[in-house]
């Protein structure tokens, strides 16, 4: 759900492994203490996350419309909601669109992020400091603010982008409405997402690059390896864990993109702009079909779990080691 969580998780997981974990040595039976310490946090998590998660699942098997909302109780309909969704051609279009959108955004973020991180290795120090400062400023910009400012940049009438494109010579973009064509609209949303995601990726990769032993790279260069070769066979393997974490995190964020689409299209995105999260939300809160909306949300969670399963397995394995 956040920029750094898994990166940190990864780091601490690894550190933890090397640190000797011991119970309080002077008090062999800790007894109930850990449970008391955990209780408040677990209570909140159970109440506000686990219970809703369970009720989301339950809701997805119910018909839950306006009448059920007023009565606070749904009607069980078994797998009907899933059947409705899966039989609908529009649903598959949305799933495909969501996957394609996420794939393009993750790929762009990772490729551009890597190139910039490599670039920062090659520049003078003041330039690196300047770029890093800029990245931090972008990183600190709230998503909602970012969407609003890009909306202004891409405004069809007075947007600075239309003026720039026209005057640089890309054609006539005066009064060009970017959102008339969903493909162009998604291109704009991609710009917003990638712009917002780059700082974290570049800063994390830069930190990673600085840990790659210099003599390894120099040795390869002395042996006559070209820069591409050095990156692919020397640097990339060392950075593999960082790449995996960043790609997984980006997948999670880009799969569940919501705010960017919702706010960019003034809270009324047309069906052409539905990603799975938007579709689920819209079915629930616009069409008042909470049951169908819940089924769509469950499908989103399952797809996300599938897309990131390798990563999750990696962590579960690590936890297993630690617990034994």
């Amino acid at each position: 759900m956040n920029p750094a969580s898994a990166a940190a998780a990864a780091g601490h997981g690894r550190l933890a492994k090397s640190t000797l974990l011991r119970p309080w040595a002077w008090r062999p039976s800790a007894g109930a203490t850990p449970y008391f310490l955990l209780a408040p946090a677990l209570l909140v998590l159970a109440g506000v996350l686990l219970y809703p998660l369970a009720s989301l699942l339950a809701l997805s098997f119910q018909h839950y419309g306006l009448r059920q909302l007023i009565a606070h109780s749904g009607e069980w309909v078994g797998l009907d909601n899933y059947a409705t969704a899966l039989r609908d051609g529009f649903f598959w279009k949305v799933v495909l669109r969501t996957a394609a959108f996420a794939a393009v955004n993750v790929a762009l973020t990772m490729v551009v992020g890597t190139l910039i991180a490599l670039l920062l290795e090659r520049v003078h120090r003041p330039v690196r400091v300047l770029v890093t400062a800029g990245l931090v400023l972008v990183w600190a910009t709230p998503v909602v603010v970012a969407v609003d400012l890009w909306q202004w940049m891409f405004d069809f009438e007075f947007g600075v982008i239309n003026w720039l494109l026209t005057h640089i010579g890309f054609g006539d973009y005066i009064h060009h409405n970017w959102f008339a064509n969903p493909l162009q609209g998604f291109a704009v949303i991609t710009v917003v997402v990638v712009w917002g995601a780059l700082p974290f990726v570049v800063i994390t990769l830069s930190a990673g690059l600085s840990q790659v032993p210099r003599d390894l790279i120099e040795a390869a260069e002395v042996d006559g390896a070209n820069p591409l070769y050095v990156f692919w066979f020397v640097v990339a393997p060392i950075l593999r864990p960082v790449f995996v974490i960043l790609a997984t995190l980006s997948t999670i964020w880009d799969f569940k993109v919501f705010d960017q689409v919702w706010i960019m299209l003034n809270q009324r995105p047309a069906a052409d702009y539905f990603l799975l999260g938007i579709y689920s939300f819209s079915e629930s809160f616009r069409v008042t079909q909470y049951g169908l909306g819940a089924a769509l949300a469950v499908i989103l969670v399952v797809l996300l779990a599938g897309a990131t399963s390798g990563y999750v397995r990696h962590y579960m394995g690590q936890l297993g080691e630690e617990a034994s």
Binding site: H12, L15, S284
Partner: protein
């Protein structure tokens, strides 16, 4: 000048170009906020605000519910940060320093639960608070934010605590410290950066959050700033100057906090991500 140095200057130029591309949207937002209307709504962009004005800010502040929503944002963020740091610290202590039945399950849950997207849970969360008649209350939002920041905060703080060797505490106790004393003198100072980093994290998450606030807070007087920003767009179009001023004001606290504590965030969140 050597070819190598020339190439390096070339890379410098590329990097500066990238910097300008990244930073331009923010420059454009802030300068638009300071421009008079006729310099905003113009077909030829006015690149530098030569006639700076505070009108847009005055307009934004005069927008209905601005002060209400500032107060709401502050209340929600303070409550979320204060409570979450306390709860996360206790929970982190439990998983970092004790072995107990179910510990692995708790750790697994802390990671797994972060995968569940907010937009998927917003439906049952809304129905849950609706049945409790808590919709449109700040309490509902704070409780939800707590649950969403706790897993990451607990996990991060656990890392900080684990890295303080138990031997250090034991040593302090052999030297005559009580258990609590050893904790506050030895562990606490070492974990403090973690507490700062996780507090900032909670602050930023709660301040920036949009969807939950949008769904749960129905009336204008109960909303937060991120939701309030939509009020600049009406059926007559968008008041761009006002929106950019409002967006600048909304982003400012986060940027200030972020820049002030960037060192902690970077070291707290990316430390060790490469080792392994």
């Amino acid at each position: 000048m050597s070819a190598r140095e020339l190439r390096r200057i070339g890379w410098d130029a590329v990097a500066v170009l990238f910097f300008l591309l990244m930073i331009f949207p923010i420059y454009w937002m802030v300068t638009t906020a300071f421009k008079p209307g006729r310099d905003i709504l113009t077909l030829t962009p006015v690149w530098v605000p030569l006639r700076p004005t505070l009108d847009n800010f005055a307009g934004a502040i005069a927008q209905p519910f601005f002060w209400n929503d500032v107060l709401n944002s502050i209340l929600i963020v303070s409550a979320t940060v204060l409570v979450s740091v306390g709860l996360a610290f206790l929970a982190a202590l439990a998983v970092a320093r004790f072995r107990f039945r179910g510990r692995a399950a708790v750790l697994a849950m802390l990671i797994g639960i972060q995968m569940v997207p907010l937009s998927a849970l917003v439906i049952p969360i809304f129905l849950f608070y609706d049945s409790l008649e808590l919709v449109d209350t700040l309490l509902a939002v704070v409780l939800t934010y707590l649950a969403f920041v706790l897993p990451f905060m607990t996990w991060t703080l656990r890392g900080f605590i684990v890295n303080v060797p138990v031997e250090m505490e034991e040593q302090a106790m052999t030297d005559g410290c009580s258990r609590t004393g050893a904790f506050f003198r030895i562990v606490f100072p070492l974990v403090a950066p973690g507490l700062v980093a996780t507090s900032v994290y909670a602050f930023i998450q709660a301040w920036n959050e949009y969807l939950i606030a949008y769904v749960l807070l129905r009336s204008g007087a109960h909303q937060t700033l991120t939701v309030w920003l939509a009020s600049f767009t009406t059926s007559h179009g968008t008041d761009w100057g006002g929106l950019m001023a409002g967006a600048t004001l909304t982003g400012l606290p986060v940027v200030v906090f972020f820049l002030a504590l960037q060192r902690y965030i970077a070291s707290g969140l990316t430390a060790g991500a490469v080792k392994g």
